[in-house]
């Protein structure tokens, strides 16, 4: 990582770089962990209302989005494998596919949120005001948790776009693709968190 050129003894330490990335992912898990704790507390407090409110969510769109994210994790891995084998073109194609899938996820998410908004279900919305406290909290948790997750998807898109540029400029290549691996790790984390969000909001009713 050291860019000072005066000492050639600086060796690359891929293991160390990955270790740093794993530690960072650990902090991300704890960041979401705070929200999962809140979800747990409120689910115990308002279990009936949570059941009721969960029925409002669009299971079909949620399922499609889950499939999209899972597929994007696959294309991400394939991109890394491809560059490891020296096939730059294939790696680029898979990485572009990953980014497109991520954007597809965001579009569907946008439709989902948009539908809720148009029914007056948003913080301070007319319809939400008529619902019970437990349902208000359910939608509050829903918007906050999927919102923070969506923010991570967007950050992931930015990171992967940088990786794409690095790939095109050969800064990521067959012999040094630790950056792509680190970006991939981040992307899997985004995927992993959704794997937990999906059942908690869409399936438990």
């Amino acid at each position: 990582m050291n860019t000072n050129s005066h000492n050639i003894a600086h060796h690359r330490d891929d293991f160390g770089s990955k270790m740093g990335m794993w530690l960072f992912l650990f902090t991300e898990l704890i960041l979401f962990g705070g929200l999962f704790i809140m979800y747990m507390v409120y689910r115990v407090e308002y279990s009936e209302q949570f059941h009721l409110a969960a029925k409002e969510l669009n299971l079909a769109l949620g399922t499609i989005n889950t499939l999209i994210l899972l597929t994007s994790s696959l294309t991400m891995v394939l991109s890394i494998v491809a560059i490891g084998r020296g096939s730059k073109k294939i790696s680029i194609l898979y990485l572009i596919a990953t980014i497109l899938l991520a954007l597809g996820f965001m579009v569907i998410k946008g439709f989902e949120w948009g539908a809720k908004f148009s029914h007056g279900i948003y913080p301070g919305g007319a319809e939400l005001a008529n619902l019970s406290n437990g349902e208000v909290i359910f939608f509050g948790m829903y918007f906050v948790m999927t919102g923070l997750h969506a923010l991570h998807v967007l950050i992931g898109v930015v990171i992967l776009s940088f990786m794409l540029v690095f790939l095109l400029r050969d800064k990521i290549n067959k012999d040094n693709y630790i950056k792509l691996e680190a970006g991939g790790l981040y992307w899997h984390l985004v995927d992993l968190i959704w794997i937990y969000l999906f059942p908690l909001f869409y399936l438990l009713h």
């Binding site: 770089s17 740093g20 530690l23 704890i30 809140m38 301070g124």
Partner: protein, 546 residues
């Protein structure tokens, strides 16, 4: 014995990198320059915090409004807390001294991620600026206290969002430093530097890194939620919409209790360096001290509930948290006993860093023992939210971490700046500081025990004398601080050149010139002996570093 090597090797100050002048500092990825950047910015913020504290004490000189009204006073203690905690004590020793010394102490040329390290400093400065800018924005200075408790922090009309964003950014900076240090300790140790040959300061930084990683994200999400509440009124902490404000307190203290260990552990590490050096003796119980750091790091994440004994918790939760609080006192006590045992039959050389450590042991022990009074439920209810808590907190944080920050500053000053300070003036400053400290904060124990609530700008007539006494103490304390800083600044300009190893230490930072060259060593360090094996001093230390 003057060191001939230091005159022939270019120090990192003289090294010319890509950038020149000020850019050579603020864009440098050299861990030593980043450490000094942190040091200077922190001393700046610290002085602002001191000034706010000074104003608060001045307000308490007499009953009724003396120099400010209640709203100003609320803002003053909030800012004092935010600045001292988020900008001084939390980053304090790790970011300034850890950055400068950790790579040198393990025989590395830099940290694992030097650019990330620079980013940490930039985030730190950005956070600090945000906090200051927020004072002049609509609504005026934040008045929630540094704890940002809901529902008040959601309802107050003062500027809350920007200081919260600042705290979030500072947390991010803290996390990046933690990740950097942990990876560096794992991956960059010199040949022969096994984990059990690491200096104890490195062990402490390592344990601190873990708390930073485990704890900080929780405050991150909590802060984000308060911002979301203020902007969108989602209701997650609002009882009117079904939310639970107590949940905020839990999340806040899940971070903020471990955070006090982020503040104190590195200080304990510094103490474990200074005592063997000046007692010229192997540290007593090396492994016990090393593992007690890890024990503090992990048990410390389980005791947050003791901040909430009066907030509404089940009795079971209260005694469990009380019990765990007693448990976490054990590793701290182990350290204190080991430090004292190290001095036993040592060959002690009295000097300013050692004097700070002596003051620390007394003040920190008082702070620690009064922590047990607060940790037991029955007495806690009596002194909760009084000056007793304020006194306890300042004994452990200022008498503990603050004093050791100054000890570290004196101990490593010759290494960092290559100059020696005036020892006599430094010792005088330690004396004045300690007297002022006790006058100011010990008085608060009595005030609190007698029922003076904290965070009030006014008081009842029976507290008058003690308040005046404490305020006078604050003046003594501040004159000690000014004398100390003046002495160091004078040394910076006019001090005599420092030797490579002025205290005859055995850890690696003394095995290179003062100040060290770029990338720290002009040879490849190889470690054969433990950091405090003074019986091998002649063998382990090269002649030019004796």
């Amino acid at each position: 014995m003057s060191n001939s090597v230091s005159t022939t090797i270019k120090s990192f100050y003289e090294y010319e990198g890509k950038h020149k002048g000020i850019l050579g500092w603020i864009l440098s990825t050299d861990h030593k320059r980043i450490g000094l950047l942190y040091l200077w910015s922190m001393v700046g913020f610290f002085l602002v915090g001191v000034f706010l504290g000074f104003l608060m004490r001045l307000e308490m000189l007499s009953m009724g409004p003396t120099i400010m009204g209640p709203q100003m006073y609320n803002a003053a203690f909030t800012l004092h807390g935010i600045i001292m905690i988020f900008l001084f004590i939390v980053p304090g020793i790790p970011a300034a001294f850890g950055n400068f010394l950790l790579p040198i102490m393990i025989g590395a040329e830099d940290v694992q991620f030097p650019r990330l390290n620079l980013l940490s400093w930039w985030l730190y400065v950005t956070g600090g600026l945000f906090a200051i800018v927020s004072l002049f924005l609509s609504g005026g200075p934040i008045d929630t206290g540094w704890t940002f408790y809901v529902p008040y922090s959601i309802r107050t009309s003062t500027q809350v969002i920007l200081p919260l964003i600042a705290a979030f950014i500072l947390g991010f900076s803290s996390i990046l430093t933690g990740i950097n240090f942990i990876t560096t300790v794992h991956r960059m140790r010199a040949k022969g530097m096994t984990f059990f040959k690491l200096p104890l300061f490195v062990w402490a930084l390592y344990a601190t890194g873990w708390i930073q990683i485990i704890g900080t994200p929780v405050i991150g999400i909590t802060i984000l939620l308060v911002i979301v509440e203020r902007v969108f009124s989602v209701g997650l902490f609002d009882p009117a919409l079904g939310g639970d404000p107590i949940l905020f307190q839990h999340l806040f203290w899940i971070y903020s209790h471990p955070a006090v260990y982020i503040m104190i552990l590195p200080a304990m590490g510094v103490v474990s360096e200074i005592i063997p050096t000046f007692a010229r003796k192997h540290i007593f119980g090396y492994k016990a001290i090393a593992f007690s750091s890890l024990a503090i790091a992990f048990i410390g994440t389980l005791v947050w509930g003791h901040h909430m004994f009066t907030s509404g918790m089940s009795d079971t939760a209260r005694w469990v948290y009380s019990f765990l609080t007693y448990i976490v006192a054990l590793p701290s006590a182990i350290k204190v006993f080991n430090w004292v045992a190290t001095m036993y039959k040592g060959s002690i050389r009295m000097s300013a860093p050692f004097a700070f450590v002596m003051a620390f042991i007394v003040l920190f022990s008082i702070g620690g023992l009064t922590g047990l009074i607060l940790g037991s439920v029955a007495t806690n209810v009596h002194v909760h939210d009084t000056y007793f808590v304020v006194a306890h907190f300042h004994f452990v944080m200022f008498g503990g971490t603050g004093f050791i920050f100054f000890a570290a500053l004196h101990y490593w000053f010759p290494k960092m700046f290559g100059k020696m300070y005036n020892e006599k003036i430094a010792m005088t400053a330690v004396g004045i500081l300690t007297v002022g400290f006790l006058m100011l904060y010990f008085t608060m124990f009595i005030l609190g025990y007698e029922g003076m609530p904290r965070r009030y700008y006014d008081y009842l007539p029976q507290f008058q004398f003690l308040h005046i006494f404490a305020t006078v103490g604050s003046w003594v304390l501040i004159s000690g601080l000014l004398l100390m800083f003046w002495n160091l600044l004078y040394a910076l300009k006019k001090g005599s050149p420092a030797k490579a190893n002025p205290w005859n230490g055995m850890t690696l930072e003394w095995m290179t010139s003062s100040p060290p060259p770029f990338e720290n060593f002009n040879y490849h360090p190889e470690i054969k002996f433990g950091p405090y094996e003074y019986e091998h001093y002649d063998e382990a230390v090269k002649d030019e570093y004796k």
